[in-house]
Symmetry: D2
Subunit: 463 residues, 4 copies
Amino acid sequence: MEHRQGDLGEGDNVSLCPLEFRYGSDEMRSIFSRENIIRKMIDVELALVRALEESEIIPRGYYERLASCIYNVRVEDIDGYEKEVGHDVVALISAINDVCGESSRYVHYGATSNDIIDTAWALLIRDALRVVKRKLILVIKLLIDLSKKYEDTLMVGRTHAQHALPITLGFKLANYVYEFANSLDRLLSTEGRVIKGKMAGAVGTMAGWRGKGLAVESMVMRELGLRSHEITTQVAARDGFAELINDLAILASQAERLGIEIRELMRPEIMELAEGVEGRIGSSTMPHKANPVECEKLAGLARVLRGLAITALENIPLWHERDLSNSSSERILIPHAFVLIDEILGALHGILVNLRVYPGNMLKNLELSKGLIMSESLMLRLTDKGLSRYEAHKLVRELTSKALASGMDLLSVALNDGRVLKYLTADEVREALNYMKYLGSYRELIERAISYANEVISRSHSC
Amino acid sequence: MEHRQGDLGEGDNVSLCPLEFRYGSDEMRSIFSRENIIRKMIDVELALVRALEESEIIPRGYYERLASCIYNVRVEDIDGYEKEVGHDVVALISAINDVCGESSRYVHYGATSNDIIDTAWALLIRDALRVVKRKLILVIKLLIDLSKKYEDTLMVGRTHAQHALPITLGFKLANYVYEFANSLDRLLSTEGRVIKGKMAGAVGTMAGWRGKGLAVESMVMRELGLRSHEITTQVAARDGFAELINDLAILASQAERLGIEIRELMRPEIMELAEGVEGRIGSSTMPHKANPVECEKLAGLARVLRGLAITALENIPLWHERDLSNSSSERILIPHAFVLIDEILGALHGILVNLRVYPGNMLKNLELSKGLIMSESLMLRLTDKGLSRYEAHKLVRELTSKALASGMDLLSVALNDGRVLKYLTADEVREALNYMKYLGSYRELIERAISYANEVISRSHSC
Amino acid sequence: MEHRQGDLGEGDNVSLCPLEFRYGSDEMRSIFSRENIIRKMIDVELALVRALEESEIIPRGYYERLASCIYNVRVEDIDGYEKEVGHDVVALISAINDVCGESSRYVHYGATSNDIIDTAWALLIRDALRVVKRKLILVIKLLIDLSKKYEDTLMVGRTHAQHALPITLGFKLANYVYEFANSLDRLLSTEGRVIKGKMAGAVGTMAGWRGKGLAVESMVMRELGLRSHEITTQVAARDGFAELINDLAILASQAERLGIEIRELMRPEIMELAEGVEGRIGSSTMPHKANPVECEKLAGLARVLRGLAITALENIPLWHERDLSNSSSERILIPHAFVLIDEILGALHGILVNLRVYPGNMLKNLELSKGLIMSESLMLRLTDKGLSRYEAHKLVRELTSKALASGMDLLSVALNDGRVLKYLTADEVREALNYMKYLGSYRELIERAISYANEVISRSHSC
Amino acid sequence: MEHRQGDLGEGDNVSLCPLEFRYGSDEMRSIFSRENIIRKMIDVELALVRALEESEIIPRGYYERLASCIYNVRVEDIDGYEKEVGHDVVALISAINDVCGESSRYVHYGATSNDIIDTAWALLIRDALRVVKRKLILVIKLLIDLSKKYEDTLMVGRTHAQHALPITLGFKLANYVYEFANSLDRLLSTEGRVIKGKMAGAVGTMAGWRGKGLAVESMVMRELGLRSHEITTQVAARDGFAELINDLAILASQAERLGIEIRELMRPEIMELAEGVEGRIGSSTMPHKANPVECEKLAGLARVLRGLAITALENIPLWHERDLSNSSSERILIPHAFVLIDEILGALHGILVNLRVYPGNMLKNLELSKGLIMSESLMLRLTDKGLSRYEAHKLVRELTSKALASGMDLLSVALNDGRVLKYLTADEVREALNYMKYLGSYRELIERAISYANEVISRSHSC
């Protein structure tokens, strides 16, 4: 077939990565834009010159002059040099040289590329984690609000996708409050290990600063607001990145779990919750359908993040004082991981804000088993009155079998069973089969989950 | 620290994915550009209209009129609609409608989005695999040439990174010929399962074409040069993609293995092979260093591809007649996997073209163990002459221990050992310790590997 | 707390791997038992002695004498030697020496450990794949039978877990027929690449058999019924294992998909299919519950298999002519992968044999949307009669919105809409909304899927 | 070929998992033996009965009577019941019933299976982590000792496997001290999130204990020395397991990195470090070889652990108040992950205890580049004296090129270069090229790494 191709518009803008235009917020994307990555590298180079000056390794005056010109370098010029020399930091230094001339004499003095790169990663990850934490806290707060709002909204708890026991929607959602709060807690503990700069020169001995290395490092880190690794080779150890990406993959998997929750409860046969879609066309052929496409996206993107967790783990066993194999994969995995989690948290936020809740359907579904899900309650009452657990188990099993076979509800079957009435009065049977009376300590548990989440959030704010 | 930031140049072009500008050939990148993906979707929509017309489901004349305008749609217009309706295929149809008006009346008639998307994937993957196969064949041919050129170039074979037995460089490389040929063979068998179109309407029953569905499908596929799946739900089964991405991850891992080979043999203590770098600055602080950065890149990118293999596997268990969870992850994983393998094959090609070989160092290193690596040869000769394998093993072990302890070479030690001379003449001992005489069937094996590779290549061409 | 521990029974039998006692058939477990792995290694050692004798490298008579004693070695004796020397093949040879004495003089002559290990893996994998294929074919045949039996059993097709269009249960299951048949096809093509022996001595040059190596290799392979690799280093290339394990992970993921299908359709609100559990206690507290525990197990075990796929990929980049890093991981991953897939296929078989089908519920659920799922059908009819696709889309969207708002069924709404009746008669509207008339080419598609599966199965038998 | 098979010894003991007999210490294996898992489940059941009694839900006296008989249940009896009912906790309760009769009336009262299972996991993981931490601390302490012992042992630092700059062996190893200490720190923070019990009944509401649930939970946890989750569904959230397994995979990857370090430095061309193997037969055909098989094993097992990290991540998105899919995979992944890391740490310990160090070879290799690795030092001195970094870079590059071309050492070339002598005296040139003078702050960095590690270790002890 011969293509009769028009030009389809702007020909050179051949984006192929959906993270460029489809996923992620502008805020997060701009953190990992080439431009911003270069800006952070410049921040580090500049901080180094200041530190060199203050520790009197280089003459006074360079920092101020450099600061006034260094941000005038242009990405295109760096690109030009990089094509020539095949090395991004050397290209950056050359471009700075062009722009600042003599003022740039001491740029990168005594440093190695990864002093700049690893410290820039620390700055970028710090900024990115701020966004992640802020959005995660928003999600947790929405869940807390929903949890309180629906604290007493009765619904069936489902295990194995079968009806188990009554819960409330608030109780269900409080579990997510807890799970996401755990992720926040985890990120808080991870960031202490991963947001760390490195300024130690080639092979990590600080040889280029002859004895003043620790002072230089300390001034650079103070300038940038970072802690530094205690020791490094030519690169910082990669275990922290593997921990971080895995944290994000865990968070994505939790989001996927909540997405599955909603997708399932949005089935037309169930319709207890629904992803609120406004004005969106569900399907090109089935215009009436409202599909949980945002929730489905959570699952798809979580799969990418889980794959990236493997990549991050494999970057750990670098050779000797470094090999370059982590470099290419980190250029991909760190920005992708953060833009993906950003999209996931953004989508999750939208889902929760627009979440539709159908308490009437919840009640209707709860009644579906005609009381059978209360058999545990009945069994426990019987045990209270002297049956062994084993006997009670057997008796209730017979009652439920009878109810299932006859289509009667469990209450009627129980009230007609002599063995039951030997142990319980009719009122006690009714009490045992009342959903509202069999919610256990749900209020305290919701409260406990929310308190915990609030405690983690407040710890996060104080970081 | 206050940033004194200039604008660093073109501010809006905030690329964050290195596949946009750093990795992959323009050829491969343009296959997976948004523009080209849309072009392939249009190809499919157009082929469908033709098939509908030929099977007399719609009136004659639409196809020709549509063909003259449909490629005039512009990516920007599709973008506009997509932002509005949140659905890419509906957006495409709307944009076509705008451009073609009445001529587009039957566009997408009876189809579902994934008829278009999955068939477009088949077309894109076919094109991408052509590039992959072509580049892989180039790599194999380079390896065949090198294998022949260095057929008799003696070097030490290394196991556990220790010296084992003599081999030749040609023999070493012929193993890579075989391994990459296996990958080509694997891709040839995979493509039969994965380059398959789908034209079956919502839920896959072809209900929209009332009884003529199989004819429509068959005409579309003929037009596009594709085979179709035997049956599908609303989407084609995802197992083929998981197979494909894993094939690419295997190929990447093989490339990594060759990269490790060169990185290791380029160590200054060994220096038998080297990545030929021209005019490249090795390190910002150690200007003399020539680093195997291309070989290291192979390892880094292979790690990303292995991670994507997991993502592809997780896309298989879709719910019922489809869920959307594969969609977002495939948008990322398919283009990324192909651009990554493209970069890997391109880098590998460059590495092999510029590979530096140091036969002198190979010989020097071979002698390093003073003949100890020939102990197996000696042991077998002793067994020939009547020692049990166990006794020969023990005797040679003693000789090698003595050689190691004394710093003498094995030949001298053996010629001075009465027990050895009970079984072998001095000439037989010398023969037993001659590297050139202990290369086994290396020539036939090289030949066999090359023949096999050529057979797979010729099968590839006939596909 | 002080433990008052009894001994809980047989103290030394401290199994910790559930594959030892919980998962997998005895048949598969016995293939990968230590005993059988050793037996296969002995098979290979014996075949080598025969080949050496036939190619006149060693004197006549050894093979026959060896064959009469070699299988008398005992696992315990090998264990003893292995503890001493830390090398399993050396330990095996020592144990053979003890049992066979002088008859074992030429055991392992000229070979390297991985000649034995890799060839034994080929034998073990061949046996294991026979079991896998046999069980997979059984599963496919059960699915074919179910597909035929329920060919016309109407149910709703679900996309995004929403109601989409009518299908039949037979059509749904025919998709699984196709998907599993693809897995069988994939295994048939993989086994050609992976069931390959290796007999090439240290570093792979066959140096120990001085020029007769190819003949030795060929006789060994003929004896064992194997093809050999075209060339190897000291070990066979590991790409084939990565392909194989990924095939099994794909198959497991397909099984998981079918398991999810059943778990979802077994929800009490849906109850169209159910895992048939007999006499099993569903839950310790909710005795009435019948849980889809076998289907759930499919998902859990598939996750382990997907993880192993990563391990297998990472084994590819071995150093030079070998390093040992694949050894420890393959000892775990190959047996585990096969026992897991064996358990999965066994469970799947049981699930399908006991599958409960509720056609009444299928019909009831189908009616749930009051005809709304037939809106595509109506839209296409309207397009037939002259509306543009876009207009028809809009009109039907209005009708469905009205139906949804009013609670009326689509038929009534459509019959009361003047715009509809301008294009269609009342009978045409009724026809357009009849589920049975909107199943498309489902019969031909089922037939096509089954034919394809039967073709693959018959190819499998002829292998 | 007909097999003439003897019985190979103990036929029924068909172990297939190498973790049963090959890998891991008895101590770790016994933690995850079936017997011990059951023992922990009994511990939990017993603690629950005590808590029920103390909170006056059940009559006094049961706990004491139960405690005197409950540990008499036998694994075989549980197995028998499990085969019958297909449910391990029900089987356990039945077996307890048989052994304890009436005393067991309140066993499991109000609980759900995962109250027992998840709390038992917490106990098992606590015990397993104690072993891991203890062995990890031993490894760190060995590394600290080696780091101090070889603090000043000069060797070359390697980047890209090329010679970079001088370091000391102590400095190299101090990096591992830091990396492993990070893993210890990580485990300390993870264990707070993962060693948590769960006692909340079906669906997690504590309904069975009517209002006294929180008290029951609190008493059980106090009895077992555990903290509890703030809220759960029927199962505890799985994010903690994913974090834990990833921590172990990180630790394994760090061990792999150290293993690679040694394997590389043990190459005969380098021979600076060696895995100390005593009396082990290296290869069946090359008896003289001492292979780093323990270090290679680290890599192989790390690959398995990385794969398990994926499995653990996939277990997070459970449906609603639980599905069973995590159960089967956790039975495998938790014990396997811990036995693997146990084997890794054990092997690492052995490697470090027996590590052979060759300072002479280190010096010899350091001289290999004839001073070229000191070019950075020279460049910095030139910059000190007024050259721009760019010019100094260029000049030194010329000197090194000249040295490389001529075979002269850098010192001679520099002393003969007029441009150099314009800036530096001959003594300054010699100083600039003295390895010992270019080790930077290595002592302080080693000290800092060790202090950090000691701080983490002391925090670990106080946990």
